[in-house]
Subunit: 239 residues, 2 copies
């Protein structure tokens, strides 16, 4: 057995529901091709019911991966209501430390939860924005979160793999990134600075420092903002 691009394409095509999804098939195939070169980079939790990690060399493995890939794509990144109950002691501290009234604290409790949920979406929306601009390029989105610590895959002019790790902020938690061997380079990029430490910095965003091979695709904060605005509006309309 070995990895068969044609087979991966066919299996993905059977899962796709519309032209938009079908336009992601080349990315899915590239991701599988990468996992065929580096099987250890597959991030997959096994359990009693599913004890075996899917292999890109079998039909059933490709089918499992394609399902995960397109389910990830279909999943909404609209902010989800939190399932946690706010800690009442936070309101006590807010009242005494900042002078908010009890009524204000009640209001803040809700808004604070909305802010937290919104914060949790930004990273995923950033990947969706990049995919929307890069889908027709040589970059492939690692949708579905089954490639270890890698968000986009590309190749350089020597046809070597280039792996890209995206973070929303310079202080985002580090993913447990494994060093990839044999000619694969991991490039890292974060979108925004969390601290205003550099005097005179014109912007808190980092689009000017995109990795070289990501440049030339018109990626910008203003466009990201438009994308987020449109995405959230569209998702809200579905509810």
């Amino acid at each position: 057995m070995s990895f068969n691009r044609k087979k991966a394409e066919e299996i993905a095509a059977n899962i796709c529901r519309n032209d938009d999804e079908r336009s992601l098939i080349p990315s899915f195939v590239e991701v599988c091709s990468f996992l065929s070169d580096f099987p250890d980079e597959l991030s997959w939790r096994t359990n009693k019911d599913n004890p075996v990690k899917p292999s890109v060399e079998t039909d059933s493995g490709l089918s499992t991966l394609a399902n995960r890939y397109f389910e990830g794509y279909r999943r909404s990144d609209f902010p989800v209501e939190p399932s946690t109950v706010p800690d009442e002691m936070v309101s006590v501290i807010m009242e005494k430390a900042y002078g908010y009234t009890t009524a204000q604290c009640e209001q803040i409790k809700l808004e604070h939860q909305h802010a937290m949920c919104s914060e949790n979406c930004v990273g995923n929306l950033l990947e969706r924005y990049l995919d929307s601009k890069l889908r027709d390029s040589h970059w492939s989105w690692c949708c579905g979160e089954f490639v270890k610590a890698i968000d986009f895959l590309g190749r350089n002019e020597k046809n070597e793999w280039i792996a890209l790790q995206i973070k929303n902020r310079d202080n985002s938690e580090n993913s447990s990134s494994s060093a990839i061997r044999d000619g694969t380079r991991i490039q890292k990029w974060f979108r925004s600075f969390s601290k205003d430490t550099i005097k005179g910095r014109p912007s808190f965003t980092n689009w000017a420092k995109l990795p070289e091979l990501m440049q030339g695709y018109d990626l910008s904060e203003a466009e990201f903002k438009n994308f987020v605005s449109q995405y959230i509006t569209a998702e809200k309309a579905k509810r």
Copy 2:
């Protein structure tokens, strides 16, 4: 060399600035006594300037530990203003997802930061509250955060060490707790439930389930609330 309780007492007494601090000396000595039994439980970051971990068997080691202990006690747990800059994209999501106006989002940005800072204090305030009620008991507060994953130390009726790990919520991050050997038991307790999953639960707090040896000291949510209220008011007055 061996650990000398008298010496630890003297060194701590030289550092103390008032009667309140002096009433913590027995706790400090107990903590050192524990570290003398279990030197590996010392949590201490070394660096080029300070390459050696302090030992409870030397005067200089005791002095270093006493300074850390009482500096920890003196440090204010009033909420600190965050040094991070809010991510503007969160406001974009808030506007589109929840219908907040731009002006409301500006307001929420500040209140959300206040709420986060306040949340970050609760765990430390919980330790301070427990210390305030337990200082005269056989429990000793591991102030200064130099004992691995342990917040309070006590002994059972057989004079064996009992270590207590306190968390504010059932979903607080796990500290990298090391299993302690040789007759030391780690008991764990959390103050509050983060989820409303148990129908009919009368309370979101867990004071009714305190470890057996912590019972009988009148510890309660109502008293904790009073403590927090008074502590924050007093700290605010110092500013």
